[in-house]
Symmetry: C2
Subunit: 269 residues, 2 copies
């Protein structure tokens, strides 16, 4: 692991690091905020389409609350990148749009293994480099990253003690944000759909909080209703907030950053 930058931030350190990933076969970059008084608890923040490790790190306003709560926050990239990595001319496919799955199909299979990256490679690196408690992990994300948080939690029960999401893609197998991409990557979009995985699991295995704006310009692509229905049908303890007038932007994420950090801090204490 090499250090690309470190900036003092709310008494702690906002770092950017790079490491070689076996899962993706590429060098991957991630951000990590380390509070001054770290409790050892870790929150994974998965970003949305087009983002790198940097967007949320500079715009979501999480660090101040994380500093108060003693939470370490990790900001992974959203896909492998580089000259040898396939891409697509659409913003919602290829580089910047890994959808947090392990691709098995065609040109994508070699590098687009973001599920293994987030679930294995990156934790291996992070837990080796920083003094953190693997038993106290939470996961959150925005949009495609919310889909990532939900599906990773469902695929790895017991791994994350708390799960939240900002405007997550909840039912990707029935959305332009999901069906084409998950089909191209894996051939099986239903196997990476939080609403379907929840029905299969019978219950969501960790405390869950979701916030989505009622004025989200992509509301129709998110499938919030399908997940809300599945949560109720499975009797899964959860909080789904439809926030009046908020849209899909980082202004929305920042507005609820305090609430999400508090939610995770409560469960990771």
């Amino acid at each position: 692991m090499k250090t690309l930058s470190e900036n003092r931030c709310f008494g702690g350190v906002q770092g950017v690091y790079a490491h070689a990933s076996d899962a993706t076969g590429t060098e991957m970059t991630f951000g990590l905020f380390r509070p001054e008084h770290a409790t050892g608890a870790v929150l994974w923040y998965l970003s949305g389409l087009t983002c790198t490790h940097e967007n949320a790190m500079t715009k979501a306003g999480l660090q101040g609350w994380a500093a108060e709560a003693g939470l370490t926050v990790v900001f992974p990239d959203t896909s492998p990148r580089g000259a040898g990595v396939p891409d697509d001319s659409n913003y919602d496919m290829g580089q910047g749009a890994g959808f947090y799955v392990d691709a098995s199909e065609g040109e994508w299979a070699q590098h687009f293994r973001m599920e293994s990256y987030i679930a294995s490679d990156l934790p291996d690196t992070v837990f080796a480099a920083f003094d953190l408690d693997q038993k106290r992990q939470g996961i959150t994300g925005h949009s495609m990253g919310g889909h990532g948080a939900l599906t990773l939690a469902l695929k790895h029960p017991g791994r994350y003690r708390s799960v939240s999401a900002f405007a997550p893609i909840c039912n990707p197998s029935d959305s332009d944000w999901g069906r084409p991409q998950l089909t191209a990557y894996t051939g099986a979009p239903a196997d990476h759909d939080a609403s379907i995985l929840l029905r299969r699991a019978g219950k969501f295995g960790a405390p869950l909080r979701i916030d989505t704006g009622t004025s989200d310009q992509f509301f129709d692509k998110l499938g919030t209703a399908a997940l809300a229905e599945a949560l109720a049908a499975t009797g899964s303890p959860s909080e789904v907030n439809l926030q009046d007038g908020y849209d899909h932007s980082y202004f929305f994420v920042a507005s609820f950053a305090e609430a999400h950090i508090a939610f995770h801090a409560d469960h990771l204490a």
Copy 2:
């Protein structure tokens, strides 16, 4: 004035607007955060070199605290822009680097009138469009914007009830960040130097708070010592904080956003 965008943010609205400026002879863009429970008090936030209206609006983390305090925050651009506006190949001169002065020299004189823009044109537009209290204005800024906040306050005594700055350029007539630019724009850099203007004024006319990081990579260009000395020599009530380990980035600004908003809110109540 036309609306370019509005996003709900911390219960209020983060807007971006454009208007024709007589001072610059161009269309100017600015951001304005309007809290849900606005007290009428206004804080002007002047950005630094290379910034537009957008950087601080998305990265400084001011809105949450402003929402709590009921403060309206305005984020002006840092220079005139456009095809007919002169520029320079250096990042610290021309577009993105107006230095908040009215240029009198050469090609700059026609459009680079940022002092008049911030002190007259923009307030005229803002006070006409929003229900705000002209008697309760504060001003702050970062780096070149800190220089702007300090010098505008010194040039317009009584205008701003509270003044603060993040890592301000304090003594530009003795800095690479100031002497060449203010000479090219005005021919008289000393007339736009906060440390010199303060000596001439005899006292800083409003409560003042400054924060600068001890690990600021541009510390040598800021001239903090000259202003600190002038504040002491003139017996000006002020707070100059050298913050251990912080640098020049928005991570530093965001770390002290709460404190600066609280400072202004106290004086603008």
